[in-house]
Symmetry: C2
Subunit: 445 residues, 2 copies
Amino acid sequence: LIIDHFGFLEDGTFKQRYLVADKHWQQPGGPILLYVGNEGDITWFCNNTGFMWEIAEELGAMLVFAEHRYYGESLPFGQDSYSDSKHLNYLTSEQALADFAVLIQNLKNTQPGAQHSPVIAIGGSYGGMLSAWFRMKYPNVVVGALAASAPIWQFPGMVPCGDFYKIVTQDFARSGYNCDTNIRKSWKAINNVSSTASGLQWLSEQFSLCTPLKTKNGIISFKGWLQETWVNLAMVDYPYEANFLQPLPRWPVQVVCKYLGFNSTVSDYQLLHGVSQAAKVYYNYTGSSSCLNMSESATSSLGWLGWTYQACTEMVMPMCTNGVQDMFEPEEWNFQVFSDECSAMFGVRPRADWAGTVYGGKDISSHSNIIFSNGGLDPWLAGGVTYNITDSLISIMIPEGAHHLDLRYSNDHDPPSVRAARALEVKYFQQWIRQATKTPQTSKT
Amino acid sequence: LIIDHFGFLEDGTFKQRYLVADKHWQQPGGPILLYVGNEGDITWFCNNTGFMWEIAEELGAMLVFAEHRYYGESLPFGQDSYSDSKHLNYLTSEQALADFAVLIQNLKNTQPGAQHSPVIAIGGSYGGMLSAWFRMKYPNVVVGALAASAPIWQFPGMVPCGDFYKIVTQDFARSGYNCDTNIRKSWKAINNVSSTASGLQWLSEQFSLCTPLKTKNGIISFKGWLQETWVNLAMVDYPYEANFLQPLPRWPVQVVCKYLGFNSTVSDYQLLHGVSQAAKVYYNYTGSSSCLNMSESATSSLGWLGWTYQACTEMVMPMCTNGVQDMFEPEEWNFQVFSDECSAMFGVRPRADWAGTVYGGKDISSHSNIIFSNGGLDPWLAGGVTYNITDSLISIMIPEGAHHLDLRYSNDHDPPSVRAARALEVKYFQQWIRQATKTPQTSKT
């Protein structure tokens, strides 16, 4: 694929990885379900998107999982792709969407029987955003899109910046007695305990940290790491044992909260002991970790650096906390500070309004055939589309669902709401396919 | 405005020129008519788009004429903008559309009373294509678009490459006895006459060429220049005296054809004398030219070099002739030769399929609120949308119209079809404005 779709000076090309499964494909003309890759290794997403595998036969569909440029093995400049801002310059959502469009057009032009196949885009999280945007920007390429847990409104001025952490807090509040209250208390306890050298040592030991805490900055990182841990737990609060970001038990937030049920007389040390037990549910459920590494908060299949670059350019998602409606230390959203950090890290500055301009912000009613599914437990719900915008821009809510639960393999423990969501999603897919077959796409261009 | 909307390495900015007329604007919330600038000086387009000026009062509209980057005074790198392919790299339609989107968003955020103003895009020719694409890609920014004489299908595989010159030929055929026949004959006559040195001299004198013809390549250029002259005449075959590409009489093709009415017994010299008289209608209607300059075939307000670059990158528009259905020397469309020429000229190669992929080709039925108007005399009709695609993707035909006649000031000589077209266009504008006012755009992003 071409490295720069939007300029003609850089005429280099690169190989985009994509996986194809056509066992159930009814050719000619059977539909193609396209997984719109997000910020990570496509094989990992492929294995975590059982929904597509389970519906392929019913729809007679070919499955295509397309990797997002700059992640996994789809590196435009090989090992140099992340070497500097010059090489990172082609890591944008617009380039990624153009990759997907060109990939599909190529597939239709070269794969016998695929020329008139209607294509449905499917993605979750950032991939869900891409999925929705793909339908908005390339309706000639995809007849519809499922955007699962896609926070397309988590951009400046669209939703309150505090909603995300409010939802995290609610998850903990309902998962165990005093659970959110004790986490809210824990930050002060950490400050207290870490004020002495012996306290620092105790903390490092309690949390079995691979690298002991030494400095004040270390404590800031430590608290940030814990905050991220609670967020991740809320995201993957699935009703069955699963291994998405980490191997975890059924309803992990409930399991975590068992260690955080103290009443108001708890001491700082008791409280933090509980917190350490809770953290180990997330980091060491399998018991295989000899120590906890603060620099690894989730699966290495996700491309942390790439996503940080994207957040520092287009994907500006304001978040804030106030410690009242959420269980975190108060922190305002400060664009300037964020921008300065980005400039220091990558030599680029974010454009706060660009995503809203290019992807329509809240003015998307003229588009069609997009399903926005959201889980009630998922903090990313805060930036999601949670109501029907038109007859064909549909919201599906899964109250008991965490982050794109609907995309996962079905499970005996699935709540009825996710079963219903999946059934409805398939119904819309079938409707879009019927529409497309009635007015066949003349894909010859 | 930002030079590179699609990358964050180049963080330079430039000034885009735009003209505003708000005399009739009913604020707050009155509509904005946005002229989507094409490949030339915006003041020239502004003066040649009387339609907008004439309807401003009725609609209570603000007029905005936005210049396209790399043309007129909107030069991203000043005098260096055209110095090499590195500086030309940001001359693309996608960047231009992003400019227009950011301009409108800025205007809405800064101009009191404009925040909820519905915006309608208006453009002709390439500007008409941009106008349609603007609505397709940024429906959050514009509620609808008028694409006048916009050949959005003049791309590889979408329409026969010979249709364009067929329409030119038809214009001449119906504008005078044997007019097309004699032009078809003239190429051989030029070859015959130019085969001797005295013939070359005679030709140069007959056509009052500023630079006499000397070589075989000169003859090729000469024929190309004449071919372009006939094309331009067909484009501006307006029913009244006008000055668009050149100052010209009423129905200029008819005037030209008066010099080309020979029967079959005409000699090469007689025929070419007639051709020279015809060419002078186009190049010297005012009588002010002391000689004809083959390097200037139209107004200097159009940016020839910029458009050539765009044609060499995204705007790949196949054209061909066969000398049978058209009056030109046969020439096939040869993408490879074209690509090699582009590479030699700019160091870039065109991407034949990109425009079709990014702008949807013939699969645009999911979009809405676009009027495609076309003139029956206009060769660009060949690549235009000439039928209603849906209830809100409308084709308006103006059988007696040349290139975007509907955008021009009204005139006593206007045929009824263009009067009707303008009235219908305004009716649709009003409908889009009503729709937008009913469901106000929440332009806050």
